[in-house]
Symmetry: C2
Subunit: 157 residues, 2 copies
């Protein structure tokens, strides 16, 4: 990916670290999925639904499908799987009876915490070993990288 002249550069080392972290997080997700009879897509769906529940945003099959990049048939299948496992239930929206509202069960919330809890704790602990000024530096850097990466995606794909 880089010839070894550039490997010396701090920028390149950081790129590789970010990639390594991404790979590790993906693998944790896969491992979690495998241990709970879920597919990686189901885990992503759960994350999306838990986020919606946390922020109070409405969750519907349409919104979920758009977020996951699935068509309506695939989205129905994901929800069927999660419903079969008792993590989610469908409720007709009384305002607009075409729509279905997706409600996550308490078991799914607990599952989410069992997954993210230790991970969050670890990262917060790492952060705690830095002083306030360095924490601000890290936060600013990650914010900038996030913007840059998002710009790359929306710009090219």
């Amino acid at each position: 990916m880089a010839n070894d002249v550039h490997e010396q550069d701090a920028g390149m080392r950081v790129v590789h670290l970010l990639r390594a972290i991404t790979v590790e997080l993906d693998r944790i997700g896969e491992g979690f999925a495998a241990r709970h009879a879920l597919h990686p897509t189901d885990v992503r769906a759960l994350i999306c639904l838990l986020d919606a529940a946390r922020t109070g945003a409405p969750a519907t099959p349409g919104i979920l499908g758009a977020h996951l990049g699935l068509n309506s048939a695939g989205t129905t299948a994901v929800i069927d799987r999660l419903e079969r496992l008792g993590h989610v239930r469908r409720e007709r929206d009384t305002q607009d009876r075409r729509r279905v509202l997706l409600k996550v069960d308490e078991s799914a919330v607990a599952l989410g915490w069992s997954f993210f809890g230790p991970l969050i704790h670890e990262i917060v602990a790492v952060m705690g070993r830095f002083d306030a000024a360095d924490q601000a530096t890290v936060e600013r850097f990650l914010g900038d990288v996030n913007e840059a990466v998002a710009r790359q995606r929306t710009g090219r794909g």
Copy 2:
């Protein structure tokens, strides 16, 4: 995932930033796959093979399959797809004739650069806007996070 009392915390904001970056990078990978008639798994395989080519490490179906978490049948299928597209070719290892060495074509290297090049450039540019001390802080933080995340994975699954 977090109740909103903790949202204020710099640690939690950093956790969310890391997650956002991970999601964005995954989406870029998916977009790249879709635009080149590849599956996400094929992209991961290409990355693995390009890394091996770059570091001079030998690449075989067995190593690739282990890296991707596929069994031998699935690994054969991935290599078949990449070979059909001309990105990879199989060569019998003359030392141990049970083994097949996977050689990436120049077109695959070019493809990899077209994917990672702009992304790397963007992140290096972000890094360049920080002074040397702050770059060192960022690098140390990411290294620690990487270790912590890797420890999480190997410790729990």
